[in-house]
Amino acid sequence: MSLGDGRGTPAFEAIGLARSYRLDGGVMVDALRGVDLRIEQGEFVAIVGPSGSGKSTLMHLLGCLDRPTSGTLRVNGVDVATLDDSGLADLRNRTIGFVFQSFHLLARTSALDNVALPLVYRGVPRAERRERARRALEAVGLGHRLTHRPSQMSGGEQQRVAVARALVGDPRVLLADEPTGNLDTRNGEEVMGLLERLNKGGVAVVLVTHDAEVAARARRRIHVRDGRIERDA
């Protein structure tokens, strides 16, 4: 996997990527119909499109949460088809950071332990885990909220905890699914600022949104419609 660390290797490379689902009634739905895509290291990309366009499916495929029906996907140069489930889990753990629209924090767990969670699955010792989680929380401006639980924090703070969790493992890319969707303008602005700062630090950021204002801040916008890339600018 060391070849994936080279700067010349794209973060994501998709060739003819397709994903179809069989609904309960047996009807096949083609959510993604052959996507060719190349996202370089350190890029800031917005995937935009109306709901049902397939942008979430694309996001799940890029995040290795799902496997394509056909086509090839390389993450950091590694063909995901060659990986088994635990190989995929390892790839998600080390290479990709996730930020979700609904934060997805563990409700009765402190901010510190929420952020440290990815390191648990990497086998990092507890003391080091907590230290790294503390630094990540400080980096998103929540150094004073270490022991707070999600219910004791505002939505903006919760999303910043989620960002801290995404970056604690030093990922190559950060995938954000409508990261500002549940936030007011001010908090949304703050989270976007964080993502931009991370991107300047060298992490590729791919965000899925249907908010034109949010998309406008990305250097590259990929428009998805009906399971295909409509426009890439």
Binding site: D66, R92, N93, F100, L106, R122
Partner: protein
């Protein structure tokens, strides 16, 4: 993920749902508790009976006419004192052979009357049976030879007839005949419902005259060691069969009694343990049920953990450890409660209880196994969840 980490996570998850975890454990606690208590009672009963049998004395062979067993017709005894002399010759050591003639008679002192079991025996009785004296002396050879009218009282008979007064040297009346008390036995309790403290011993010759029959009811032979019992039993039975062709004699040993009763009580204990085991199983089903609910409830959490890099086996381990933790903690509490319960039962009721290490090991092992067995299905379901679907669940 390290096991210690998984364990910490499981403890945390169970603590979060404290009430639910306790209620789920309760099923296992009750199951384990009943296993420990019921096995303790079964074993206690077995020990008590074995102690009673052993309390007779050691290595005793009881020779009686006829067949011994349920449904066997009662046999009119044809044995008499000459047979005792014959058995003494066969055995070789005359002191190791004694005799019994039994009858029930009222024993009277003044106006106090007590119904007692009269047992005619001889001077060798204390060499065969374990029957310590509280006061006075045993029967002597001359008592038997001269048909002396002397008695040794069981402790209960002595207490009823004489109260606090020392009975030695005093008179009792049996069937109109006066006897002098020469001894009082220690309290020994009952054996097979025979209240041995209600016995009155007198010389076998005197007893035969009192009853008016020259017969004896049985011969008891004491073997010198446990290994001697079986050869000696066969020797005595063969010798009697030779003397009385065509008649049956039975020789019952304590080992046989212990064996039969031990088997019956062992089976009883087994049945009790099985019934208790069923409740443990029901507790296990409860664990399975709660774990399934927990998996469904935490679908989003599982999806998130997978997105963050948890492998299927990490999730499997997490839920399996939770289930096993529930049952083993429940098991330990159940064992402690079971030990406490058994001790309490023993303290406040006549039911004997004896806690056995194997029931504790078994109860703990079974509850841990129940955790694994009933935890696997929910844990596998959790491990197989598709992260995309799991994350989308609300």
């Amino acid at each position: 993920m390290k096991t210690a980490e998984a364990l910490r996570m499981a403890v945390e998850a169970l603590r979060v749902n404290r009430l639910r975890s306790m209620l789920t454990m309760l099923g296992v606690i009750i199951g384990v508790l009943s296993v420990v208590i019921l096995v303790a009672i079964g074993t206690g009963a077995k020990n008590a009976v074995e102690k009673e049998i052993a309390g007779l004395g050691s290595n005793i062979i009881l020779v009686v006419p006829g067949q011994v067993g349920l449904g066997a017709a009662p046999t009119q005894s044809r044995l008499d004192l000459s047979d005792v002399a014959y058995v003494r010759r066969v055995v070789g050591d005359p002191t190791k052979v004694t005799v019994a003639v039994n009858s029930g008679e009222p024993v009277r002192v003044g106006r106090v009357e007590v119904f007692a079991t009269l047992t005619g025996t001889d001077e060798n009785m204390p060499h065969v049976f374990d029957r310590p004296l509280r006061r006075g002396r045993y029967l002597a050879e001359t008592d038997v030879d001269t048909r002396r009218r002397v008695v040794i009282l069981g402790s209960e008979v002595a207490a009823k007839l004489f109260g606090d007064v020392d009975p030695i040297g005093r008179q009792v009346t049996i069937a109109g005949v006066r006897f002098r008390v020469i001894g009082v036995y220690e309290t020994v309790g009952a054996t097979f419902g025979v209240a041995r403290d209600q016995e009155v011993h007198l010389p076998v010759t005197t007893a035969q005259r009192l009853i008016g029959l020259p017969r004896i009811n049985g011969i008891a032979v004491g073997a010198s060691g446990p290994d001697e019992i079986e050869p000696l039993r066969r020797k005595v039975v063969d010798a009697l069969a030779e003397r009385y062709p065509g008649e049956a004699f039975s020789a019952v040993t304590q080992t046989q009694l212990l064996g039969t009763i031990g088997t019956v009580l062992g089976m009883l204990t087994g049945v009790l343990a099985a019934i208790a085991g069923i409740s443990l199983l029901v507790g296990g089903v409860g664990v399975s049920n709660i774990m399934l609910v927990s998996v469904r409830e935490r679908t989003r959490e599982i999806g998130l953990r997978k997105a963050l890099g948890a492998r299927g086996r990490d999730i499997l381990g997490q839920f399996l450890i939770e289930a096993v933790l529930l049952t083993t903690v429940g098991g330990v509490i159940g064992i402690l409660a079971g030990i406490g319960g058994a001790l309490l039962i023993q303290a406040v009721s006549p039911v004997p209880a004896s806690i056995t290490w194997w029931s504790i090991v078994l109860a703990f092992g079974v509850s841990a196994a129940v955790g694994v067995f009933f935890g696997v299905a929910p844990a596998r379901r959790a491990a197989r969840l598709d992260p995309v679907v799991a994350l989308r669940t609300d």
